[in-house]
């Protein structure tokens, strides 16, 4: 049940209808928890038990940590939580990868056919942050397992993030949920934006990127460049579109989720890129891996090593493949070089920095998306001018996709720089007002545009937008790229 499918729209509508009719916070939470379980079971009901097991272990460990002041006991419970989570993740996600690699060096280990549980990378990280925060004293443990299970299994961010921390989510569970006109309006605005990114741009661009990555040896360098550019736009629109839909869905239900993307391709350095791309994962890796490794406090060499290790593991988090390891290693090296240069005052202007960053990120998508390292090599060689295949040209789809992304970034940039508050005035506020749209400010999700149909312009814009989606999106249901992680 992907967010962009009609099935999900039916599911969400029924849930909102139900939440709107039920009185009492506890009942609403129970309904939400049950709906989240149903949502997860829709993929594969067998792994619902695993999800509940993870939440049960971390809930119990956090309670045990909070119940004692004895340091070694607290550490033991924390270790239990981390080992359990990483053990489950290692078994379900990395077992086949490790075994196949060990088999190549002569170790005869049995290969098991293990299906990857949907969203396991996301919910184990989400759940681990809870016990670590409780251990650090940054968060008081919740007293109700139902609350905690609802947090871990919350359907909006369950499959592909944003990776919401318990410290952000659990306090929200004290408030009443359910749809209100304002929540529906704001949530629908987010959802519509995400749906557009996914269906109108990402899925269309996939028709260009997919064949190029599937058989790169038959294409010329220029065609492969086209495919890689298409994928660069596709993965951004796909993943940020999913995040927008998740934020919108959560808002309609009554919860706030954190921002996950902030126009990352406009970054002027790689460090900035990682502050703007998959922000919740970057922050997680920083707070729970990079800083515990020593961060930048233990000398220059160790800082570079910590950056490299963090990104290497971040790459591996994406999937059990050497491609992701290479991708993580490249970004780790890139961040180390970035730090080396900035530490010595070697700075470029925003244009050169932006182009360098975008080029590096684009090239790194090649091993990330290529099915094997060998095909990644074929692609990179062709892109460097050593291709032997045939040139094909995909102008319509790529230009449309690029045009829409550029337009979105221009508007997004204007919105992000607009004065605070509608009363502040300014051309962007005036322009938006003509379309019954206002700039909203969310403490977690940042700035957004709230759409409305209260005047001629607004009704025209929203109706046209919905009609454009209905008439021009791809009807093929394409899973979100990050679902596989």
């Amino acid at each position: 049940m992907v967010f962009s499918s009609p099935r999900f729209l039916v599911f969400l509508s029924l849930l909102l209808l139900l939440l709107g009719r039920i009185r009492g916070r506890e009942r609403q939470k129970a309904v939400l928890g049950a709906a989240s379980c149903l949502f997860y079971a829709a993929w594969d009901y067998r792994y619902l038990a695993l999800l509940l097991l993870v939440s049960g272990i971390d809930y119990a460990c956090a309670a045990a940590i909070a119940a004692t002041d004895v340091r070694w006991r607290r550490r033991a419970w924390l270790a239990t939580s981390i080992v359990s989570n990483l053990g489950i993740l290692a078994y379900f996600k990395y077992y086949a990868f490790f075994v196949s690699n060990l088999q190549t060096v002569g170790l005869d280990l049995p290969m098991l056919q293990i299906l990857l549980p949907a969203g396991i990378s996301f919910y184990t990280f989400k759940s681990m942050s809870y016990t670590i925060d409780v251990y650090r004293g940054a968060l008081a443990p919740t007293r109700r397992w139902l609350d905690y299970a609802t947090f871990v299994s919350f359907f909006a961010d369950l499959i592909a993030g944003p990776i919401v921390r318990a410290s952000l989510f659990l306090p929200q569970m004290e408030r009443s949920i359910g749809p209100t006109p304002e929540r529906l309006r704001v949530g629908a605005s987010w959802f519509l934006l995400g749906l557009t990114k996914k269906l109108l741009i990402a899925d269309r661009l996939a028709t260009v990127a997919d064949p190029v990555f599937a058989a790169p040896e038959i294409y010329s360098g220029s065609t492969i460049w086209m495919g890689v550019v298409a994928y660069t736009l596709q993965i951004y629109c796909d993943f940020s579109g999913y995040s927008d839909m998740a934020i919108g869905t959560a808002k309609m239900v009554g919860y706030d989720l954190p921002e996950n993307f902030d126009m990352p391709y406009l970054s002027t350095s790689l460090a900035e890129f990682w502050r703007r791309w998959h922000m919740t994962l970057s922050a997680w890796l920083r707070d729970y891996l990079y800083i515990p490794l020593g961060g930048s406090r233990q000398g220059e060499g160790r800082t570079y090593l910590n950056l490299f290790v963090t990104m290497l593991l971040g790459g591996l988090w994406h999937g059990a493949s050497w491609n992701f390891v290479l991708w993580g290693a490249l970004h780790g090296c890139g961040l180390a070089v970035n730090r080396f240069c900035s530490g010595r005052g070697l700075r470029t202007g925003p244009l050169v920095g932006g182009l360098t960053t975008l080029s590096f990120v684009t090239l790194c998508w090649v091993p990330f998306r290529a099915p094997t390292l060998a095909s990644a090599r074929v692609m990179l060689e062709a892109m460097a001018g050593h291709g032997t295949g045939v040139a094909r040209w995909y102008p319509t789809v790529v230009f449309w996709g690029l045009g829409l992304v550029v337009l979105g970034h221009v508007l997004g940039h204007a919105v992000s720089r607009a004065p605070r508050g509608t009363e502040a005035g300014g051309p962007i506020h005036a322009l938006l007002a003509r379309f019954d749209a206002t700039i909203g400010e969310d403490p977690l999700a940042g700035r957004y545009v709230r759409l409305g149909m209260g005047n001629l312009g607004g009704a025209f814009l929203v109706t046209s937008w919905l009609l454009a989606l209905f008439f021009f999106v791809s009807t093929r249901t394409t899973p979100f790229i990050y679902f596989q992680f």
Binding site: S5, D44, Y45, T207, M453, F471
Partner: protein
Amino acid sequence: MPSRAGSWTGILLALVAMELVVRQVYHVPVAFEPGFGKIIRPGATVRWWKEGHGESHWTRFGLRGREVPDLTKSSVLVLGNSFTEALQVDDDEVFTTILQERLQREGVATTVLNAGRSGASAADYAALASRNKGFFRPRWTIVQITPDDLGALAWVRGRNHFAYDESGRLVARARPVSDGGRLHALLAPWVNRVMLLVYGTYRIEEFKDAAAAEPPLFRAASAGAAPATTASRDAHPIEAELDLIAASYDRRVTFLFISTFDLRSPLVADGTTETRFEAHCREASLSCVNLRPGYPELARRGLSPFGFGNSGFNNGHLNEEGHRLAAGALSAELERLASSGLF
């Protein structure tokens, strides 16, 4: 303060604007043909930019082309589905037009009549054979089929479909498609002029098809269910279906099989339908043309017979290359038949 009148005006303007936009990419006036269902309105000009960039013209006989053919002269009737209708390409790029040019170059004075209908199945060709033969009086008939045409679609009740009679013989049952009654007849001419409604109906069908192709809910495996069409397609008596169609047109038929294309293994048949088709053509001495022998040349050039810049490589309907390939294969077959005195 929200203005209700302003909102409604905005919605109305958006609908008008979208009607104009949709007309640029999709302008398909439709009509009702008794015995079949919705077809492109005879005499219409169609603009189809959702896949490829085709502009097509339709004669008053419901045949593709600008010129009304003289039905008293020798003709080759081409039956098929959307692959023959070929809205994705211009009139002069369709394989039927290219075939006519080639035949005329070779001195075969005949007109190729393109009677492609979107959504047609193998059962339609058999069920409507008498009417087609009576009206068009073709010298020869070409029946274009894709792997799916011989399968489930040809067995759907409520439309022309294959069935077994009491003696267990395969027959094509003609089931007149309802025209929807008086109200429909009254409204249809108006509704069919509004592309938002015509294309909207088409889109709803597309969404329904996409929803039907989604993996089942609450499955106990991450892999989607195996597509039902392959299994059901293989379970159908395609040999008997081919024989029935051939008999319906007095065996003066050439089957054009549009096989799937894989750039890496262009000569490998996809599924048992194609293998069974090829085998039966040989065993029953049917005139058959498969596009597959032409695929290696396309693969060598990195091309696919399917797909357009706005729809994706190797995806969807025949592109210009595919139509050229089909025309070439058919003209060779018809010349072979002519040399042996059959055509």
